[in-house]
């Protein structure tokens, strides 16, 4: 029998009791939502359902839902990189998705996830920016990658990475040429090209409970009970391409190893998922 906790009434105020509640569960090696410690929530991936975007995807990891829409537009290149396109990720954690977030400018967490995605795109050379150049020093593509969280139930990082990757794979760029004679831009909407992606990262997030219990894919409540997460990003060869743990309980080596192991398996699973939707 599985116990299902559904927080449809919204915010649950955590107190010392819920900490004990968790401890009792973890003692038995099971989490209150019925998962094992290292078990992930089910995931649904859907691509290309937003016709106004150049590429889009919807990812649900358990209740956590992220929609990524990529809008490709043309702009003048940055003066310091005249031959390179621009990719701008942005994560929106609006008050719509959880009572944790307040209206107004993006909160710290949204900024950190945005920068995380930006680092990931840059450090892995995910997109060849030279491919996004139409005419040197004149016209380049800019990809606005907007990730909107619709339902925040923990582990936004994994959902964001997956939805960003799926949406990027889904992007279709029309053919653009510059007509030299009349200096006008010509667009052929019928002739489209997909993006070439150099790598295909998948991230897996863990949290540590009570120094020794490592749980994968934390929910919002689990995030509140623990400090600091461990995110491991792997590529299709099973290598680690990004790792981040900003703090929290100290970790032993074998814990790290265990997480890496799980991350690689998870990586391969999601890779197949990408393959399925992109065909």
């Amino acid at each position: 029998m599985r116990t299902v906790i559904k927080s449809s009434t919204g915010q649950l105020r955590l107190n010392d009791k819920s900490d004990d509640f968790y401890k009792l569960h973890l003692k038995e090696g099971i989490r209150p939502d019925g998962r094992m410690l290292m078990e992930m929530r089910p995931m649904v991936l859907n691509v290309g359902s937003i016709s106004t975007a150049s590429g889009s995807s919807l990812v649900k990891v358990g209740n956590t839902t992220v929609v990524c829409g990529i809008k490709a537009e043309l702009t003048e290149p940055n003066a310091s990189h005249p031959g390179k396109g621009i990719v701008v990720p942005n994560v929106e954690l609006s008050p719509l998705c959880s009572p944790k977030f307040k209206p107004g400018p993006p909160c710290d967490q949204a900024q950190v996830v945005t920068k995380f995605l930006d680092n990931l795109i840059q450090s892995t050379n995910l997109i060849c920016l030279d491919d996004l150049c139409v005419e040197n020093d004149k016209l380049v593509w800019i990809l606005y990658c907007d990730l909107i969280c619709i339902d925040y139930d923990g582990n936004i990082v994994d959902a964001s990475v997956i939805s960003l990757m799926a949406a990027l794979q889904n992007v279709k760029l029309p053919e653009v040429k510059i007509n030299e004679e009349c200096e006008s831009v010509e667009v052929n909407l019928k002739c489209t090209a997909t993006l070439k992606l150099c790598s295909c990262p998948v991230s897996t997030t863990f949290r540590v409970f009570d120094r020794s219990n490592i749980i994968a894919d934390p929910t919002s409540m689990e995030e509140e009970l623990t400090e600091g997460q461990l995110t491991i990003v792997t590529d299709q060869q099973g290598r680690i391409i990004y790792m981040e743990r900003p703090g929290g309980v100290t970790l032993q080596e074998e814990h790290v190893e265990k997480c890496m192991k799980r991350a690689v398996i998870r990586g391969a699973e999601v890779q197949t998922l990408y393959m399925e939707v992109t065909g």
């Binding site: 649900k60 190893e257 192991k261 197949t272 399925e276």
Partner: protein, 394 residues
């Protein structure tokens, strides 16, 4: 979260005022003495840290290309940003400059930008199209009174120290050379204005150079004079409840001039020394000190340095091998569910609140076939999703 500014008791207040009236100061300085000035230059061009006693300011110059203003198409621009870091004092708010920050910024702008000490025309690349914008960032690191004087020294030193990248203009394109390619160029400065702050006490009769934070708190008001080595006053401002007579202003100007002359010599020496160091290939941060009256005894003692020979480290190989996780993976189809051409899902465990999301969310909706109002519920897999189609005939 800004802390509260500590208050001064009447006793302390009277002590300082009385001492000043006797031509004495609580830190042993004379009335017209400034505190020790120390300039530290870094490896970066246009970066220096200046301390005036305990007050400490860092300045950094940076350039970027911009489109010149329409009103001055053949000029670059200089912008001064004053950052009152919480480091400097617990009651400073990092996000907004506050009254003090604005005052400092305004006076520096008047003394440096409006006195046209920087040649802005030289910064133009293509008239009306491209020019350099010089940004001068002043970071106040420690506040113990008289930030302005300290900031003005830092500003001038960093502007003097700065080198901008060389460029070549070919037709419409501008080529920027990196530092490795070509020697970067200094900015042209016509003169060096330095600010001197003088505090007034005792119905503006007693004058005091370089007030500390406590002295600033008890003074009646202050007179700020920015003057260059040609004895040209660039900016003057009186703040607080003071009424200063003409001879006093003239006297103050003389004091400021002497200080300014001394400082400009000092800054010049520091910069030529730095150049020598750089040519010799030494990387050490250079520290120069003006007026070695108060010895910094503790400083060297408190600075700990790692010795070079202790720096060898060993690279350890882990005993366990953690390769080939991927082999543990099962074959795909067993755990993967494909809903339609665009949607797949994986995993089991927690129940989704959306039920069969893959088929309901973002579902392409069938066109209604019957031309009247109807509701048609699709009972696939006992899910509760329903598609209601509406229509009306005209």
């Amino acid at each position: 979260m800004p802390l509260r500014e500590p208050t001064l008791s009447n006793l302390e207040n009277n002590f300082i005022v009385n001492a000043v009236c006797d031509n004495r100061r609580y830190d042993g300085r004379r009335i017209t003495d400034a505190r020790d000035t120390q300039i530290t230059l870094g490896l970066d061009y246009g970066c220096c840290t200046v301390s005036l006693g305990e007050t400490k300011v860092m300045a950094q110059v940076a350039v970027e290309m911009e489109r010149p203003k329409e009103s001055r198409p053949s000029e670059g621009s200089l912008h001064i940003h004053v950052e009152m870091s919480t480091l400097a004092s617990g009651n400073f708010d990092a996000s907004k400059p506050g009254e003090l920050g604005i005052e400092i910024q305004r006076i520096l702008e008047r003394s440096i930008i409006l006195s046209r000490c920087l040649d802005l025309e030289e910064l133009c690349i293509r008239v009306g199209e491209r020019s350099w914008a010089v940004h001068l960032y002043i970071h106040v690191l420690c506040y113990d009174g008289n930030i302005l004087d300290c900031a003005s020294i830092a500003a001038i030193t960093s502007l003097k120290h700065f080198r901008r990248p060389d460029i070549t203009v070919e037709g419409k394109t501008v080529l920027v050379h990196s530092i490795e390619e070509r020697n970067p160029l200094p900015l042209t400065m016509h003169h060096m204005p330095f600010c001197t702050t003088m505090a007034f006490f005792k119905d503006s009769k007693q004058l005091l150079v370089d007030p500390t934070r406590i002295e600033e708190k008890v003074m009646d008001g202050k007179l700020i004079i920015s003057i260059n080595n040609h004895k040209e006053v660039c900016c003057m401002q009186i703040c607080g409840q003071v009424h200063i007579s003409k001879p006093q202003i003239l006297h103050s100007t003389d004091v400021a001039y002497l200080k300014s002359k001394e400082l400009s010599e000092f800054v010049k020496n520091v910069l030529t020394d730095d150049l020598k160091y750089k040519q010799n290939g030494e990387k050490e941060q250079q520290v120069s000190l003006l007026c070695k009256r108060n010895l910094h005894v503790k400083e060297n003692l408190m600075c700990n340095q790692h010795k070079k020979e202790n720096l060898l480290v060993e690279i350890v190989n882990p005993i366990t091998t953690t390769e080939n996780f991927a082999s543990e993976l099962k074959k795909a189809p067993e755990w993967l569910t494909k809903h339609d051409s665009k949607t797949v899902s994986v995993g089991e465990g927690l129940i989704n609140s959306w039920g069969k999301v893959g088929s309901s969310f973002f579902k392409s909706i069938k066109k209604p076939e019957l031309p009247n109002l109807e509701s048609n519920s699709e009972d696939e897999n006992d899910s509760d999703e329903e598609i209601i189609t509406l229509n009306q005939t005209s």
